[in-house]
């Protein structure tokens, strides 16, 4: 189901995370991942440090880390909220970041406590032009 989301339906942070917000039983649930461009730039991702369910995340603050052979990079949350689901299988299956960054490569799901930050995010076209 997640694989059917197209990049055009996502919002992007300048720091290369994406978010897709759904209404679930009246709550706004944001699925968060990192862009194909980020995956390519990182190359050779070998490890991810992910938060626990229940952890609070804050806009533009680190919620985890992605490690390539060469370097450590922070993962920044595009929104304020609480982690409701973590893709715990991802660290053992990192190649899906390459093969399906906008689907099976999702990282966390967050219950938004404030959706004001969404307005500051980029649509796919604006994000692509930032990266080009």
């Amino acid at each position: 189901m997640e694989s059917e989301v197209k990049p055009e339906e996502l919002l992007f942070a300048e720091s290369h995370e994406w978010i897709h917000v759904n209404d679930v039983d009246g709550e706004k649930i944001g699925t968060i991942g990192i862009s194909a461009h980020a995956v390519e730039a990182l190359s050779d991702v070998v490890y991810m440090e992910l938060p626990e369910v229940g952890a609070r995340v804050a806009r533009e603050e680190s919620f985890g880390e992605v490690e390539s052979v060469k370097a450590t990079s922070d993962l920044f949350s595009p929104v304020d909220g609480e982690v409701v689901e973590v893709n715990t299988g991802l660290p053992d299956n990192l190649e899906v970041l390459n093969s399906d960054p906008y689907g099976a490569g999702w990282i966390i799901k967050v219950k938004l406590t404030d959706d004001q930050g969404l307005a500051k995010l980029l649509d796919h076209g604006a994000y692509e032009s930032q990266c080009s």
């Binding site: 190359s43 490890y47 052979v69």
Partner: protein
């Protein structure tokens, strides 16, 4: 992502790298290829077949004069005086306090071509390959150590030459295929002035990957031609260009120190575990007394290898602890592509440096179990 800026120095191969998709980075003021595609793939191709590395940023000093061997011996932790022509020595250069100014290769060669333009063929000369980041410092250091009235001359030929490392089990066959000598015929850490694709070159059986192979020093003008002549046969056997990122993971697996990480002016040569490169017997060199004293005191931290649990790489600067007490810090760390394990080098207090000692590594607030292991992490299989 950074791209080459005009302020950075270019090697004769920089354009080739950019044209072949390399991610270029500033390395000690040079625009160098970090990686072409995948670091892990460039690492594996070097272990399994052959990797070509542009290492032209390394400084290349040529020394001429009658007493170079005797003179430079006084500046090296390793014996150089009396070493036969054709041999290469890994050495540290230390100051009066035994602190490390650089780690270098000292070549003693006999001219057979244009690498000694000012005297007749058949004359000996010396070459010292230094780290790019230390080139100016070392040029000044050597220059100021030349005694007044001596005929010793230092010529920095870094920019007029190029240096290509060809590393891996297929390396010598590939170089031998276009050269007047097969590097296999050289002893390990041996070198010779020879012809590669009809161009004069210094061919040495040296490297920084833990693999067999060789390094070529050639005139800058022919570097691209030679690189391309090697690339075809390399790709035919599953090899190819490898960047500095793979060079770093390869040298780390091989337990080799990197200046700025395991070696620096804050570290005494006695701490490095590089005993093979320090020779006090019947000779004096700059810093010898301080190094000897430090060896006897046994109070300085020592360099060790660590293997960590889990797959999370630990990086330079991460504290190392025993019972919650800091006993040292990491100088390099990565996930080893060959071993599939998280490895690191660190300086630890001597009482915790024994192989097998369990420690913890503080990775940004999370504690990862680790243990001291023997260096190197990886040793290439012996040839039949």
């Amino acid at each position: 992502m950074s791209t080459a800026s005009t302020a950075l120095q270019l090697t004769p191969l920089s354009q080739w790298h950019s044209q072949h998709g390399a991610r270029m980075v500033d390395f000690a003021g040079w625009s160098m290829p970090l990686q072409y595609q995948s670091v892990i793939q460039e690492h594996h191709q070097t272990r399994q077949s052959v990797g070509l590395f542009d290492v032209s940023h390394m400084g290349r000093f040529f020394f001429y004069g009658d007493d170079v061997g005797q003179w430079i011996d006084g500046l090296m932790t390793r014996r150089i005086a009396g070493v036969d022509s054709g041999k290469i020595r890994y050495s540290l250069v230390t100051n009066q306090n035994g602190m490390i100014l650089d780690d270098v290769l000292v070549y003693h060669l006999t001219s057979d071509g244009p690498f000694e333009p000012s005297s007749a063929d058949g004359k000996d000369f010396y070459m010292v390959v230094v780290n790019a980041s230390n080139r100016e410092k070392l040029a000044d250091w050597f220059q100021s150590a030349i005694p007044a009235g001596s005929d010793i001359r230092l010529v920095d030929r870094t920019t007029e030459t190029a240096m290509i490392a060809v590393q891996g089990p297929q390396a010598n066959t590939i170089v031998g295929g276009i050269s007047s000598i097969n590097p296999d015929a050289l002893p390990y850490y041996g070198g010779k002035v020879a012809k590669v694709a009809d161009h004069w070159a210094i061919v040495s059986r040296t490297g920084y990957t833990g693999e067999d192979g060789c390094e070529l020093i050639v005139d800058a003008q022919v570097a691209k031609e030679l690189w391309e002549k090697l690339m075809g046969p390399a790709e035919a056997v599953g090899g190819g260009a490898s960047g500095l990122a793979a060079r770093d993971t390869l040298r780390l697996e091989a337990g080799m120190p990197l200046y700025g990480h395991e070696l620096s002016e804050q570290i005494n040569a006695a701490s490095t575990g590089l005993g093979f490169a320090i020779n006090h017997k019947g000779r004096n060199f700059c810093g010898d007394a301080a190094i000897k004293k430090m060896c006897e005191q046994q109070t300085e931290p020592v360099r060790v290898g660590l293997e960590l649990a889990g797959r999370r790489p630990a990086r330079e600067g991460c504290p190392v602890l025993v019972d919650g007490q800091k006993i040292g810090a990491l100088t390099s760390g990565t996930l080893s592509p060959t071993l599939g394990k998280t490895i690191a080098m660190a300086y630890l207090r001597q009482e915790f440096a024994a192989v097998g000692t369990p420690v913890e590594v503080d990775i940004r607030g999370k504690f990862q179990a680790a243990k001291v292991v023997k260096l190197p992490f990886y040793q290439r299989p012996k040839k039949e």
